[in-house]
C-alpha cells in the first residue's frame, strides 16, 4: 500500500451553489417493479436545497423503495435529475444518479439504510468509512478526515464508544454510528431510512435536530422516511405520503396529515391538532376502523351529530372507532355528510336536496335526539333550509357545540356562515350559553368525560 495521505476534499461552499438553482433533486415518474409487483408507481417529486422532506406511509407503501431507487440501488424506470445536471429518460432504464460515476454519486448523496448494521469494526473505523468517497484509490485517511469523523461522533454522542466494536453496541447506538458516518460523508443529498427507528425519545429529537441542522447550515437536501407522524410533522418542512406505491399527498405537514389521509393511507382514525409547543400538527391515534370493539369509551352510548356539508364527517368516523353508536340528521341528498353516514351505515334523517326541512323530518330528527345520550352540534353553514337543525339542538339534554374553525389549521375561524339573516347566529349563541363551546379535536375527550 502506498502511504500517501489525504487531507480530505473540501466541499463547495453552500453560498456558491444555492443561488443558481435551488432544486437539488427532481424525480419524475419513478417506477420500480420487484418480483413482478409494481412497488413504486410513477412517483414524481422535487427537493430543494435546505429542505427536509419526510416520506410517510404504511408498511409496504414504497417508502424504502423510493429511497433506494433515488440512491441508485435499484433498477428503476423514470428519471432522477440531480441539481441542474444531466437528465436521462426512462428508456435507458435507470435514474440519472445511476449513470454518474460511483465516486460522483457517493459525494453527492449519502444513504442511511433502515437496518442497523453489525460488524467487527470499531465505532471510529465505521464512522471514518464515510470519508471513502473523498479519498483517492491508495490514499489513507488523513488528519482532517479523522478530525471530521471525531466531530461527527461528538455530534451524535458516540465518542465514548470510539474503540468499541460495533457488534457490542445496542441497536440505537449503532444507528447513531451510521448517522455519524452519513454526516462525515458531507453529501449534498441525504437519504435516510427511518434514522430514529431504534432510538429513545431524546435521541429521536436530537437526531432530527441534527438532520435539520445539516439542511440549514450546509444547505443539504434531506429525504427521510419516518413512521412517527408527529415527529415527522415536527422535523420536516414538507411531507410526501405514499400509499400502495403511489404518491397520494405532497405538501406541508398540515396539508398531508389530515384525518382523511390517515384513514385512507394508514387505515386508522386519528385526530390532528396543533402541538402546544411547536404549533405543528400532532397526530393522536384513536384506533383502526376495524380494531376489536371490546370495552371502548363509547360502548353502549349513542351520539347524535347535527351536521351537514362535511362538518360532521370526521367525527362520525372517530366516534364510531371510540365505540359510540352514531346517528345524524337532517342530511340532504348529495350532502357529503350524508354520503359518509350512508357509507358507515348510520341511522340518520334524510331530506331531498335544496328543500327546507319538513315537520315530519323534524320530528324524526327530534326522536333521534331524544334517543341519544349526547348531541353534538357541528359548525356547519346554516341557511333557511336547515335552520331547523339548529332549533332541534335546543331539545338536547346533553349538548356539545363545536367551535367554528377548520380542523386542520391552528388559527380558529370566527363564526359559522349564516344565511338566515342572523337567526342562526342568535340560536347558536343561545346554545353556546347553555352548553359552552369545544374545539373539534376536544369533542371525544368531552364525550368521554360526560360519559363518566
Amino acid at each position: 500500500m502506498t502511504s500517501m495521505t489525504s487531507s480530505g476534499t473540501a466541499k463547495p461552499e453552500p453560498a456558491s451553489v444555492h443561488d443558481l438553482d435551488r432544486a437539488l433533486l427532481r424525480v419524475e415518474n419513478l417506477s420500480v417493479v420487484l418480483g413482478g409487483a409494481m412497488v413504486l408507481d410513477s412517483v414524481s417529486l422535487s427537493l430543494e436545497r435546505g429542505v427536509v422532506l419526510g416520506v410517510v406511509g404504511a408498511n409496504g407503501s414504497g417508502k424504502t423503495t423510493l429511497l433506494r431507487a433515488i440512491a441508485g440501488l435499484l433498477d428503476a424506470g423514470g428519471t432522477a435529475t440531480f441539481g441542474s445536471g444531466r437528465s436521462v429518460d426512462a428508456a435507458s432504464g435507470g435514474s440519472e444518479l445511476r449513470v454518474l460515476s460511483h465516486g460522483e454519486r457517493a459525494r453527492m448523496l449519502a444513504y442511511m439504510p433502515q437496518q442497523a448494521e453489525s460488524h467487527p469494526f470499531t465505532v471510529f473505523e465505521a464512522v471514518l468509512m464515510g470519508r471513502y468517497p473523498h479519498l483517492g484509490r491508495f490514499a489513507l485517511e488523513g488528519t482532517r478526515d479523522r478530525a471530521l469523523a471525531w466531530e461527527a461522533m461528538e455530534r451524535t454522542a458516540i465518542t465514548e464508544f470510539a474503540d468499541r466494536k460495533l457488534n457490542t453496541l445496542s441497536g440505537g447506538e449503532r444507528q447513531r454510528v451510521v448517522l455519524a458516518r452519513v454526516l462525515v460523508q458531507q453529501a449534498d443529498l441525504l437519504l435516510m431510512d427511518e434514522p430514529t427507528a431504534s432510538l429513545d425519545l431524546r435521541h429521536q429529537i436530537l437526531t432530527m435536530d441534527l438532520v435539520r441542522e445539516e439542511a440549514r447550515k450546509r444547505n443539504a437536501g434531506v429525504i427521510v422516511v419516518m413512521h412517527d407522524l408527529s415527529l415527522a410533522a415536527r422535523s420536516c418542512d414538507r411531507l410526501v405520503l405514499l400509499d400502495g406505491g403511489r404518491k397520494v399527498a405532497d405538501g406541508s405537514p398540515w396539508e398531508v396529515l389530515t384525518p382523511e389521509n390517515l384513514r385512507t393511507a394508514f387505515g386508522v382514525e386519528g385526530l390532528v391538532e396543533p402541538d402546544p409547543v411547536t404549533g405543528r400538527p400532532h397526530v393522536l391515534l384513536l384506533g383502526s376502523a376495524n380494531s376489536g370493539r371490546g370495552e371502548m369509551v363509547g360502548t353502549g352510548r349513542t351520539v347524535h351529530l347535527i351536521c351537514g356539508a362535511g362538518s360532521g364527517r370526521e367525527l362520525m368516523h372517530q366516534a364510531r372507532v371510540a365505540g359510540y353508536t352514531v346517528t345524524a340528521g337532517v342530511l340532504g341528498t348529495g350532502d357529503s355528510d350524508r354520503e359518509a353516514a350512508e357509507r358507515l351505515g348510520l341511522r340518520y334523517v334524510s331530506a331531498p336536496p335544496f328543500s327546507a326541512i319538513t315537520d315530519e323530518q323534524h320530528s324524526q330528527h327530534l326522536a333521534l335526539i331524544g334517543a341519544a345520550d349526547h348531541v353534538v352540534l357541528c359548525p356547519m353553514a346554516v341557511g333557511m333550509n336547515n335552520v331547523r337543525n339548529v332549533e332541534a339542538a335546543l331539545a338536547a339534554e346533553s349538548l356539545l357545540v363545536i367551535e367554528p374553525g377548520g380542523t386542520n389549521t391552528p388559527e380558529g375561524g370566527a363564526t359559522v356562515a349564516d344565511f338566515t339573516g342572523g337567526r342562526a347566529i342568535k340560536l347558536r349563541r343561545e346554545l353556546v350559553e347553555r352548553a359552552g363551546q369545544v374545539p373539534e379535536s376536544a369533542v371525544l375527550f368531552e364525550l368521554a368525560r360526560l360519559g363518566g
Binding site: 454519486r105 439504510p113 469494526f121 478530525a147 455530534r155
Partner: protein, 365 residues
Amino acid sequence: MAPVFGDSATGVPSGLAGPPSGSVLKRLGGGALLLGTATIVMFVVASAVGPFNIPISHTASTLLDLIGIGESTAEPTEQAIIQSIRLPRVFMAFLVGAALGISGGIMQGLFRNSMADPGIIGVSSGGATGAVIAIASGASAVSTLFLPLFAFVGSGIAMAVVFLIASVGGRFSMATLLLGGIAVGSFLGAITTAIIVLTDDLYVQRQIIFWIAGGVDTARWESVRIAAPIIVAGGLISVFVARDLNLLLVSEDEARSLGVRVTLVRNTLLVSASLITGAAVAFSGIIAFVGLIVPHVVRLVVGADHRVLLPLSALAGGLFLLIADTAARIVLSPAELRVGILTALIGAPFFIYLLVRNRSRASML
C-alpha cells in the same frame, strides 16, 4: 455545531478527548516489523535444522552471502544443502502459509463469517481431485510439474463451477456460492475417495494419501518460481481492494452508496483468493487450519480493517507454516511428520481454546 448529543444535558464526559491514535500505517508497520523480524529469524533457523544439522553461524553467513553480504563460512556440503534443499522448502512453506493466511482473511470478510476458510468455495477439493487424477493416471511420474498443474486446473474448474451455480438466473448470491462450494466440495471429495479405493496399486494409494496430508518437503526452486508470482500478485491485488472489502463487510447497500463497485470488487477478491489458494494447494496439498486460524487470531489482535488484517495475515500465516514445517522436521527426526497433519494437530485444539474463550463473539465476525 449546535446540537451535541453528549452535551451538558447529561453531563456524561466522553471517554476520549480526540480521535484515537493507531492509524492504519502504524498498526500495519508495527505488525509487519514484529512478524518480519520473527520471519527472518525463522528463515535462519529453518535453514539450519533438519536431519543434517548445520550450525546457525554457518547458516546465517551462507544466507547473508546469498544476498551479497560477506562470505559464507559454511562447508560446501552445508552450502549445497541450504541452497538447493532447505531454502526452496523454507520459501515454499512461507509462501503457502502466506497464501492460506491472506485468502482465509479474504473469504472470512466476503462471507462475513470467521468460520470461512480458503477452500470454502471448493478450490481445495478441486485441487485434491486434480492431484489424485495426476497421480493415479501416472501423469505425475512423467514430469514433476504435472502434479501441481493438474491440481491447479482442478482448483480452477471447481471454482468456475461453483461460480456458475451461484450466478444462475443472473443474480449472484453469496449464500448460493457458499452452499454450492460445500456441495461441489463433497462431490469432489467422493471422486477423490473413489479413486483411492478403486486403485489396486498400493504405492499409488500411499502417494495419494501422502499428498493429501499436505507438505512442502518436495519444494524445489522451480516450484517456488511458479507459485511465488501467483501468490504475490493475488495478494497485492487483494490488499489494493482491502478498503472496499471493509465497506462490503459493513453492508452491500452502504458500500454501493459510498461508491464501491460491489460486483467488481467481490469478483476480484473471490478470483484472487481462489487463485492464491489453488497455487498453494497445487504445491503443498491440503494444509488444514492455517487459513482458518491465522486471520482469526490476527483479527483479534489488530482489528478488522482489512488494509491491516490482510497483509499481516499473510505474514503471520507464512511465519506459522514456517515454524510448523520446521517442527515437522524435528519432532520425529530422522523421520518427518507431514506438516498438514501437524497444523491440524496444533490448530484444532488452539481453535477450540479460542472458541471457548471468546464464546460470545466466536460465531460471526
